[in-house]
C-alpha cells in the first residue's frame, strides 16, 4: 500500500515539533520515544505498521484546538485516533504526521433520561455507554463486535454498525449531536439534544468521514429502553440459497428481526469447535434470527418465523427458551473470528455489501475464487442487510500467501460492486480499500467527495492517504470547465 511521500522537512523538525506540542498541553502529554510511539504504530488492520512522528494526548478540547491550530499553521499532518480498533487502517500513523490520541477523553458528561440521551467524551468505549444506563433499563443500540474496546468518537468517525443495525440503525441513526475541532482549530457544535439539523446536515457527513474532516471532541447519543424480551432461533439449511431466500421471506412477511445472521459450513464447524454452541455441524448454512420486544409479540413472531423457516426447507430449528440458551446461540457467532483464528495461522476479514438476493451467486463466486487462489474462505454475514464478512484463511509465513489473500479479498469486493453492492458495509475504506474506490465510483464521484473534503480541510492535513486513491490539490478540484469558450466569473475565488 503506497502512502503519501513523507515530508522530510517536517521529519527533520521533529524535536522542535515535540517541544512545541509539549508547551501546548498543560501536562506535557507528548509521547516521543520510539518505545512509546510503538504502542500506536498500528490499529486493527495490523498488517500495516508505521511509527508516528509523535503522539499527543490532549486532555481538553482547548488543547485539541491548540494542537490543530499549530499543525495547520506549520503545515503538519494530523492522524486522529480513538481506541485504534479500526479494521481498515483509519488510524494508521504516517511518518510525518502527529497522531492525536483521544484516550484521555474518557468521561461520560451527562445522562439525561428526560431527553433520552447521553453526552459523552469521545474516548469512552461503546459498551460503557450501555453500562452507564442499563441499571435504569436503557441501552445504546449500535453494538460493533469491538464494543468492549472501541470508542464512541471512533464509532462516529467510522459510522459503526453491529449485528442489530437492521432494526436499530448504524451510529448515524443514533447520534444527536457532536462537537468537533476543525483543522484550523475552530470548535464547532453540530446538533445537540434536539432532532435534525435546520441547515446542511454537517453531522451527517462527519459521521463515517474516517477522520478526514475534523476531530470529534464530544458526542450526544440517543439511548433506548431495553426490550422486555429477546429470543433467538437457530436454523440450519442444507444449502445457502434456501437460507438466503428464507431471510427474504421473513422480511416479506413484514417482520424486521433485531438481528439476522448467517454462517457457512466452514464457519459453523469452526465456531462449534470453539464454543460448543450446539450448531448443526452438517449444515451448509446457519441462520441466527433474534426477535426482541414485548413478550407476547416476540412469542407470536417466533411462531410466524418458525413457520416461514419450515416452508423454506430448514433442516434443523431450535428456539431459545432462556437467556442462557440465547446467549449460547450467539456465543458461536460472536467467537467466529477467534474460532477461525484457531484453524488458520492468519485470516483477512473482508466487509462488502450486496443485494441479498445475490447471495447464492456470491457463494458460487467465492468458491471459484477460493480454488483460484488456493485459499480457504469462511463466511459470516449480517444476512438481513446483505453485509458480508468473508474470512480469508492464510499463513503469513508462507511465501506469497498474504499477497494472494489480499488479491482474493479485492476480487470479492469487485464482485460485490459488480452485483450491485458496495465495498464496505461497516468497516470503512481507510487504507485497506482505498485503491478499490474507483471500482465503485467514477472520477467525478470521487472528485465531488474530495471537494467536500476541501471545504473542511483545504490543505489535506487531516488523515491524508486514507479513503481516496488519488489526492487532488483543492485548487485543481475547484477549477471549472470552460463552456463555449467562456470562463464565467474569472475573478471569483474558486475555494
Amino acid at each position: 500500500m503506497q502512502m503519501p511521500e513523507p515530508d522530510q522537512s517536517v521529519i527533520d523538525r521533529r524535536d522542535t515539533i515535540c517541544r512545541d506540542l509539549r508547551n501546548l498541553t498543560a501536562n506535557h502529554c507528548v509521547v516521543d520515544s520510539v518505545e512509546g510511539r510503538r504502542a500506536y504504530d498500528a490499529d486493527g488492520l495490523a498488517a500495516y505498521r508505521q511509527l508516528p512522528l509523535a503522539v499527543v494526548l490532549p486532555e481538553t478540547v482547548e488543547e485539541i484546538a491548540a494542537v490543530m491550530k499549530y499543525c495547520h499553521r506549520e503545515g503538519i499532518k494530523v492522524v486522529p485516533r480513538g481506541s485504534g480498533t479500526s479494521l481498515s487502517g483509519g488510524a494508521l500513523p504516517l511518518a510525518d504526521a502527529i497522531l492525536v490520541g483521544l484516550g484521555k477523553f474518557n468521561r461520560i458528561l451527562d445522562i439525561d433520561y428526560t431527553n433520552r440521551c447521553v453526552v459523552s467524551q469521545p474516548g469512552v468505549t461503546n459498551l460503557a455507554i450501555t453500562h452507564a444506563v442499563q441499571a435504569d433499563g436503557f441501552y445504546y443500540a449500535p453494538d460493533p463486535s469491538s464494543q468492549i474496546a472501541c470508542s464512541v468518537g471512533g464509532n462516529v468517525a467510522e459510522n459503526s454498525g453491529g449485528v442489530h443495525c437492521l432494526k436499530y440503525g448504524l451510529t448515524t441513526n443514533n447520534l444527536l449531536g457532536i462537537e468537533l475541532v476543525t483543522i484550523e482549530g475552530e470548535i464547532l457544535r453540530l446538533g445537540g439534544k434536539h432532532l435534525d439539523a435546520g441547515d446542511y446536515d454537517l453531522m451527517g457527513v462527519m459521521t463515517g468521514s474516517e477522520g478526514l474532516l475534523g476531530v470529534v471532541s464530544e458526542v450526544t447519543l440517543r439511548i433506548l429502553q431495553k426490550p422486555a424480551t429477546q429470543r433467538a432461533l437457530l436454523v440450519g439449511f442444507d444449502d445457502t440459497g434456501s437460507a438466503a431466500e428464507a431471510v427474504g421471506d421473513v422480511i416479506a412477511a413484514g417482520i424486521i428481526p433485531a438481528g439476522m445472521e448467517m454462517m457457512d459450513g466452514l464457519a459453523i464447524n469452526a465456531a462449534e469447535d470453539f464454543a460448543n454452541a450446539g450448531y448443526p455441524r452438517g449444515a451448509a448454512a446457519l441462520l441466527i434470527i433474534e426477535l426482541d420486544g414485548p413478550e407476547i409479540e416476540v412469542n407470536t413472531l417466533i411462531d410466524r418465523v418458525t413457520r416461514i423457516m419450515d416452508t423454506a426447507g430448514a433442516s434443523s430449528l431450535k428456539v431459545s427458551n432462556s437467556e442462557e440458551e440465547r446467549n449460547l446461540f450467539w456465543a458461536g457467532r460472536k467467537s467466529a473470528f477467534p474460532a477461525v483464528g484457531r484453524i488458520s495461522p492468519d485470516y483477512l476479514c473482508m466487509d462488502g455489501t450486496i443485494p441479498r438476493r445475490r447471495l447464492p451467486d456470491m457463494m458460487v463466486r467465492m468458491a471459484s475464487l477460493s480454488q483460484k487462489y488456493g485459499l480457504r474462505v469462511a463466511n459470516v454475514f449480517h444476512a438481513g442487510d446483505g453485509n458480508l464478512h468473508p474470512l480469508i484463511l492464510f499463513d503469513a509465513n508462507e511465501a506469497d500467501e498474504l499477497r494472494r489473500a489480499e488479491d482474493f479479498g479485492a476480487d470479492i469486493l469487485r464482485a460485490c460492486v459488480e452485483m450491485g453492492g458496495v465495498l464496505t458495509g461497516e468497516h470503512g475504506v481507510g487504507v485497506e480499500k482505498r485503491d478499490l474506490m474507483s471500482i465503485q465510483f467514477t472520477e467525478d464521484d470521487l472528485k465531488q467527495q474530495q471537494r467536500l473534503k476541501c471545504a473542511f480541510d483545504a490543505g489535506h492535513l487531516l488523515n491524508p492517504g486514507k479513503v481516496f486513491p488519488h489526492l487532488h490539490r483543492c485548487a485543481e478540484l475547484g477549477r471549472l470547465h470552460v463552456h463555449k469558450g467562456k470562463m464565467p466569473f474569472p475573478d471569483l475565488p474558486r475555494f
Partner: protein, 396 residues
Amino acid sequence: MIKVTGLEDAAVAIADAMANQQHLSVQSMATKSALGRDVSYDSYLDVSAFTGIKDYQPDELILTVRAGTPMHEVEAELASANQMLAFEAPDLHKLLGAQSAGTIGGVLATNASGPRRLTAGAARDYLLGFDAISGRGERFKSGGKVMKNVTGYDLSKLICGSYGTLAVFDEVTFKTLPRPETNISLLFGCEDMTAAVAKIASVFASPHEPNAAAILPGSMAASAGIDVPEAMVVIIRLEGIDVSVTDRALHLLAADPSGAEIDENSSSALWQRIRDVELLVNQPGDVWKLSCAPAAAPNIIAAVQNHFDMTFFADWAGGLLWLAGPSGASFGTALRTALANNGSGYAQLVRDQADTKTVITPFQPLSSAHYALHKRIKAAFDPLSVLNLGRMHDGI
C-alpha cells in the same frame, strides 16, 4: 422556464447557466416554494419530468424512484406491498396553500419527517443513495442501493434538507419498512406542559415501545374530538401486531388508569392531522416550527405564551413545537431567544402570511464559523451559485 427530462439535459442547462452567468430556481410541483427565502433566479429549471418508480424490491427493503415522482404515487406503490417510508413525511399542502403533497424530491430537499421521526428516524436516515448533477454541471452519485454502506462520505445526509442548493437529483434510493399491522393511541390529561413532558418520559422509560408522542392543548384537542378536563393532553401511539399493541396498552393503562384508549381509525385520523399540522391551518398569523430538547419545551412555551396571541402543539415527545402567532419579526425573535436560553435547536418560519421573511430570516441564523463552512460547502458543489441562490441563507 427550462424543462429537462433527465440528468443529461439538466447538465446542459446548468452548464449554459454557468456560461451565461445565470441563476436557476429548481422546481417540480412547487408545493414547498413558500419555505425558506426567496430565490434569486433568471429562470426556472423544471424537473417535473423526472418521474417513475425505477426499482422496488420489497423483500430487500429497497425502493429506487425518480425525484419528481409525486408522493401519492410513491405511497401507493409501497402500500401495494404493505410497506411504507417509515419517516412518515408530512403533507403540508393545506398549511402552505399548495395543491398537493408534492414530490419525493421535495420531501428529501426539505428533510420533511413526521411523528414517527421520534423513534424511526428522519428522511435523511432512509435515503441510501442518489444520482445528481452538481451546480458545476457534473454528474455524480453517492451511496448505493444496499442498506448497509459506509463507502465514502455520506452525501445523502448533506443533500437531504439542502433545499436544492447543492445539486439537482434524479434517482433516489430509500430503505423501506413494513407497515405496522395496527395502531392505537392512548390519551392522558396533564395539568401543564411540564407534567405532559414528564408523562411522556415515564412512558418512554417503560418497555412498552411507544412510537410517537404528541402534546395538545385541551382546547385544540377538543376541536379534534378529544374531550379531557385538563389543560393539556398527551397522545401516545402504539404500533405493531395486534396482540402486542393490545397488551402494551393494557400495561400502560394499568400503570396510569386516568388514561383512555382510542381505536385504530380514530388514532390514524388524529395522527394524520398532527403529521400534516392541520390543527394550525385555520389559526391566524404565521406558523413556525421549533426543534428543541423535549425537556426544554415547557420553558420555551412559558417564555413566549403570555407575550403573544398564539397557539401551539408539540410532536416528537415535546421536541417539535408547531406554533401559530403574529406575523412580523417579534414572534420569531422571541422564539429564537427562548430557544437560545434553553439549549440547542432551531426555529424555522414555515407559513409566512405577511412577508415576515423580509424582516426575519426564515432559517435559524448561523454563527459566523458555521456560515463560513456552509459557504465553502455551497462553493464545493455549486461555485457559481447556479442553484437556488439564497434559498437558505445569504449566498446559500
